[in-house]
């Protein structure tokens, strides 16, 4: 089995649109949450949202390259450009080596809506235009980026709800460790528009603390009452150690373990057993004991039952170790399809700069989670190994373990 490392990262998120800004935001415990007032017109129960500006790609990409990109594709392009730069990779390298892409994405609402509006109003599909089909397919990001960056390796979108991009990294780890690919661009993109979030709001799953957007996402706090939808994109260069060493890459971390499981129970109600299986499988793959994990970036989205059940699973596996836990979703909101990848990046940045980003808005725990070591304030701490959880609707679970690279 080949060793697998991360050799480049890039991010476009509500707490910063580059690595440097995001590092500062994580350290400062800065919230990226605000109000999208237009949501009330649609009858949203909560108008809370991650706030992000769309990048202007005119001048960076040709028209043909731009017309196929939906909102989350634009974020993904910018994040990937940063990851390539961060990884010291250029178009020449991509052209002369077999590089793949596994990107997490699980919706693309606006182009679908716009095409249907035209059909209903004009009764003429020829007025839909050429970009819609490429924007509206679930594989829009991997499809577009593979063409823009001339990629010739594996080319797939991973759709696993809110664990999509964590699974993308895990599957890249499997493909590279098995010797099938040397380098795979991994990540996740998440649209943030109101139209894509309405049906989720309809489940009454969102936080209603609209008067205090920055404190609305409060994972593990006993007053939490829902998640805050958010988005953006995050990209990682996942590579075999051999390949990274050969090209003299700056190695940011080594993927040591990938755990996965399916709850096999309910569409939206999480359980304890499924996440526990995922945690134990990740530890087993990594050949590690729970005590070897220095920090856990929890999936915890700020929903009452989700955080409770994840906390219980964490206590069952890590209860004897008092492992520090925080959910960066307290700052970013729930980045859904993007969250697995972005949270690995957040954790890598913490590892690189020796701190634990705070689980902001955490004041008091559930009775059942009193012993969970939730880090509410930024803590300076050397981290050698981190673990990141991502869970999704349908009970799909993913866990990644990443360590500092050591020869």
């Amino acid at each position: 089995m080949k060793r697998v490392v991360i050799s480049g990262i890039g991010i476009y998120s509500t707490i910063g649109t580059d690595i440097e800004t995001v590092t500062k935001s994580l350290y400062a415990g800065k919230s990226g949450i605000g109000i999208d007032a237009g949501r009330k017109d649609y009858g949203f129960r909560s108008s809370l949202s991650g706030i992000i500006e769309r990048p202007n790609l005119k001048g960076l990409l040709s028209r043909r390259e731009r017309v196929g990109l939906p909102e989350q594709g634009e974020y993904a392009y910018v994040a990937t450009m940063e990851a390539l730069k961060n990884g010291s990779l250029d178009m020449d390298y991509l052209a002369s080596n077999e590089v793949g892409i596994l990107y997490g994405n699980d919706s693309s609402s606006i182009p679908v809506i716009e095409a249907i509006d035209i059909m209903r109003e004009k009764h003429d599909t020829s007025l839909i235009g050429s970009g819609s089909i490429f924007q509206s397919m679930n594989s829009t990001i991997s499809m577009n980026l593979s063409v823009i960056f001339k990629l010739k390796g594996i080319n797939l979108t991973i759709s696993g709800a809110c664990a999509s991009s964590s699974h993308a990294i895990g599957l890249a780890y499997i493909l590279i460790s098995g010797g099938f690919q040397d380098m795979i661009i991994c990540g996740g993109g998440q649209e943030i528009n109101a139209e894509s979030m309405g049906s989720f709001d309809g489940l009454a799953a969102f936080s209603t603390y609209e008067n205090e957007p920055h404190t609305a996402s409060r994972p593990f706090d006993r007053t939490r009452n829902g998640l805050v939808p958010s988005g953006g994109a995050a990209t990682l260069i996942v590579e075999s150690l051999d390949s990274a060493l050969k090209r003299g890459a700056n190695i940011l971390g080594e993927i040591k373990g990938y755990g996965f499981s399916s709850n096999g129970s309910h569409l939206s109600v999480p359980n304890v057993e499924g996440p526990k299986v995922s945690l134990l499988r990740a530890l087993k793959t990594a050949g590690m004991k729970p005590s070897e994990i220095d920090y856990i970036n929890a999936h915890a989205t700020s929903t009452p039952l989700g955080d409770l059940n994840e906390g219980k699973a964490l206590l069952e596996v890590f209860g004897d170790c008092n492992t520090p836990v925080s959910s960066t979703k307290s700052m970013t909101g729930h980045e859904m399809w993007m969250g697995g990848a972005s949270e690995v990046i957040y954790s890598l940045l913490m590892m690189q700069h020796s701190f634990i980003a705070p689980n902001i808005n955490f004041n008091s725990p559930d009775d059942e989670l009193r012993t969970l070591n939730v880090i509410a304030e930024t803590r300076e701490q050397k981290l050698d190994t981190i673990l990141s959880n991502s869970f999704g609707f349908g009970g799909t679970n993913s866990t990644l373990i990443i360590s500092k690279y050591r020869k």
Partner: protein
Amino acid sequence: MQREKIVTIINQFLTEEFEIDESALVPEALLIQDLGIESLDFVDIVVIIEQEFGFKVTREEMVNVKTLDDMYNYIAERA
């Protein structure tokens, strides 16, 4: 519709939307070879013609439109 107006609308679309340099927009310019318009772009040209000139374009008819001048003529005959 006056031919001059057709030329203005089409050229404006090609410069603004397709980012083609205005100096390249001479009547004899070949759409594919000279202006770099590709198969998917014709889908968007159909949209703009239908929206701006109010008639339905078929892809079959567009096959015979080779130059910019052909396009002006094609629209002038129908608009």
